[in-house]
């Protein structure tokens, strides 16, 4: 019954590799062709063309683009890996996370769409600058966005690396041979984004999601019955997690959260959900939609993604039942390899190839979108505001392209320095940072009560607290810092997601300091927005199709 892979085969899987290369080339050609798709004539030389695809995406394209934010290496590689390694608390929280995210965006994203389209805001930092008249706060939001995107891209690189490693690329001898899959992943991503901007990911998203659905459905229908049914899958997982972890002296994990891990489970889900739509790439996708309600309609149909995510997460347990042994090129067990290894062990080479291509492209597309969005943020809110206010469109597009490359290098640095045993943690670390921009952005959509300096101070305190607390979490197995994103919550004696604890501190500081500053009558700053701007929809004369930078 159990398809054991006791010996690890690091030789190249020729058939699978060929299929991956063919599918990849097909997608790349599509990417280049898409540069001409919906072309409005200006070429890819203005930031708006390269970075936002001209901002005219309707429901379906937006649906695919937003889906791209969820269907990433996070879903295919990191979540099942976490389930495989330690069970429900470190992995399955992604399901409530992706469910809860829709009610949250339903509430405020339409307002962000409207105010952005009436004022030509392209980034969250644009909005903050217009709303609070504060360059400092805008800079804080921009820097946070760029910083937080890097570990998220790092997660995508780890995903591509996992596929290449299982395919047999790279070697066991020497550091360079071991890192070869990662370096290839990086080079492909860099070349790919540099050439075609956001249009390419939008076109490729269709192909990617089709491949992904195919692979998931086959895997979910076939694998559990092959290893003995779902009942057996959960029993095998329970057996593995009941064993004692020699490094901590506690059980390895759990199939169902224990009383102590309910707080981490809930806070990881809620914190991740609140953080997701603070990322610059998510906001770019929202602003690309045609009208304010496209996003709300998407919020009511997108949960289909969450269902697939849950099934994918359970592949981590299926791998336990199947006896999958994910061993990296360095000879150490590497949970990140578990899904590719599961496919390689249990499917014919050609289908494993299709699955590998789906995973690799599924990591590549979001990574491209993320790095473009981070680059836009730099160009508009740091380069233009602080370095070269008179930049031409061509200069801005050029700076964006270079910065998107630098952001990817930053991501590479995260992969090399952080603990890779739980790649999910990369995304969670990004969440610790990006969630601290929530008060300035989301509260700002509803009220000007908060003082700009109070928001800035709250942000600063929370960033420092979050970073230090995350640094202090040491992985007992590897001894490395940033080993976990769950820490003690002071005062209430529970443990929870550090991002959410920092967020609460952020809000408390912002409220207290606002009260003080208002009492002192500190200057509140100019607000360029009007109450009705937050409700404007497509067709309203105030709503611009393109931001002013296209003129």
């Amino acid at each position: 019954m159990i398809a054991a892979a006791t010996t690890v085969d690091h030789s190249v899987n020729g058939v699978a590799l060929t299929i991956v290369i063919i599918l990849f080339l097909a997608v790349t050609v599509l990417g280049f062709l898409s540069m001409r798709w919906r072309h409005s004539g200006g070429g890819m030389h203005s930031l708006d063309e390269w970075g936002l695809g001209g901002r005219g995406f309707g429901t379906w394209i937006t649906w695919f683009l937003l889906g791209g934010d969820l269907y990433t290496a996070y879903t295919f590689v990191a979540v099942p890996a976490a389930m495989f390694a330690t069970g429900a608390v470190s992995g399955f929280f992604a399901v409530p996370y992706t469910i809860v995210v829709y009610p949250i965006i339903f509430v405020f994203m339409a307002r962000l769409w409207s105010v952005s389209h009436t004022h030509g805001f392209v980034t969250p930092a644009d909005f903050v600058k217009g709303r609070y008249g504060s360059r400092g706060l805008s800079l804080a939001v921009a820097i946070t966005g760029i910083l937080a995107t890097m570990p998220y891209i790092a997660l995508q690189l780890v995903g591509i690396q996992a596929v290449l490693e299982v395919l047999g690329l790279g070697g066991t001898g020497g550091k360079l041979a071991q890192d070869l899959p990662l370096l290839i992943a990086f080079a492909v991503l860099a070349a790919y984004t540099y050439s075609s901007g956001l249009r390419a990911p939008a076109a490729i998203a269709f192909v990617k999601d089709t491949l992904i659905y195919l692979v998931i459905i086959v895997a979910i229908v076939y694998l559990p019955s092959k290893v003995g049914g779902w009942h057996h899958v959960f029993d095998a997982a329970g057996e593995k997690f009941a064993k004692t972890n020699p490094a901590t002296g506690k059980p390895v994990g759990s199939v169902i959260p224990t009383t102590a891990s309910m707080w981490p489970y809930a806070t990881l889900a809620l914190g991740s959900a609140m953080a997701l739509f603070m990322y610059p790439h998510s906001i770019t996708a929202v602003l690309s939609s045609k009208s304010r309600n496209v996003i709300r309609r998407n919020a009511s149909i997108l949960p289909a993604y969450s269902f697939m995510l849950g099934l994918l997460a359970l592949l981590g347990f299926v791998a336990i039942a199947a006896g999958t042994k994910p061993i990296g090129l360095d000879g150490q067990p590497n949970a990140q390899l578990v899904v590719p290894q599961l496919f390689e062990d249990n499917f014919p080479s050609w289908f494993a190839g299709v699955a590998f291509a789906a995973i690799a492209i599924g990591a590549l597309v979001p990574a491209a979108i993320m790095s473009i969005a981070a680059a836009n943020l730099f160009t508009r809110n740091i380069y233009r505001d602080f370095i070269n206010p008179d930049a031409t469109d061509a200069q801005e597009a050029k700076v964006s392209k270079v910065v998107s490359l630098l952001v990817k290098l930053g991501a590479l640095a995260f992969v090399f320095t952080l603990d890779k045993t739980l790649a999910l943690n990369f995304q969670l670390l990004g969440g610790v940072w990006i969630l601290q921009t929530f008060p300035a952005i989301v509260f700002g959509l509803y009220t000007r009560w908060f003082h700009r300096w109070a928001l800035l101070l709250g942000w600063a305190v929370a960033m420092v607290y979050g970073t230090i607390t995350a640094y202090q979490q040491i992985n007992p197995a590897t001894g490395k810092h940033f080993g976990s994103s769950v820490g003690a919550i002071e005062l209430i004696g529970k443990t929870g997601y550090i991002a959410l604890t920092a967020f609460v501190i952020n809000v408390i500081v912002a409220v207290v300091v606002t009260v003080v500053l208002r009492a002192l009558r500190a200057p509140a700053g100019d607000d360029v927005t009007l109450p009705e701007d937050y409700r404007a929809d497509a067709g309203d004369p105030r709503v611009k199709d393109l931001p002013e930078l296209a003129s």
Binding site: I99, K290, D537
Partner: protein, 105 residues
Amino acid sequence: MDSSPEPRTDNGSEPTATFPLAQVVIVVVLVLIPIVALMWVSSYAKREPELWGFPFFYWYQFCWVFATAILTSIAYRIVVHHERRRVRPPSQRRAPRNPDDGSGR
């Protein structure tokens, strides 16, 4: 909308008169239900009853995927219905709706 010089430092919230309170409450409740239900982990962190081999913990959360889609769709319909009916001054009458703006597809 005549832009009478309202003090705009205070807030950008919608005047409540344009959106009946009852509807606001319904939308808020619809949106809050899934969040509260899923954050209340102790209500579902258990193994029994199982369904097709899945512990309760798992199938219960899968059910919330669909429940949330339904609740959010209802909230969407209420909001869109209201926004359509909002009285607009003639100067700002909405241009012919673009086909992608409807609730159908």
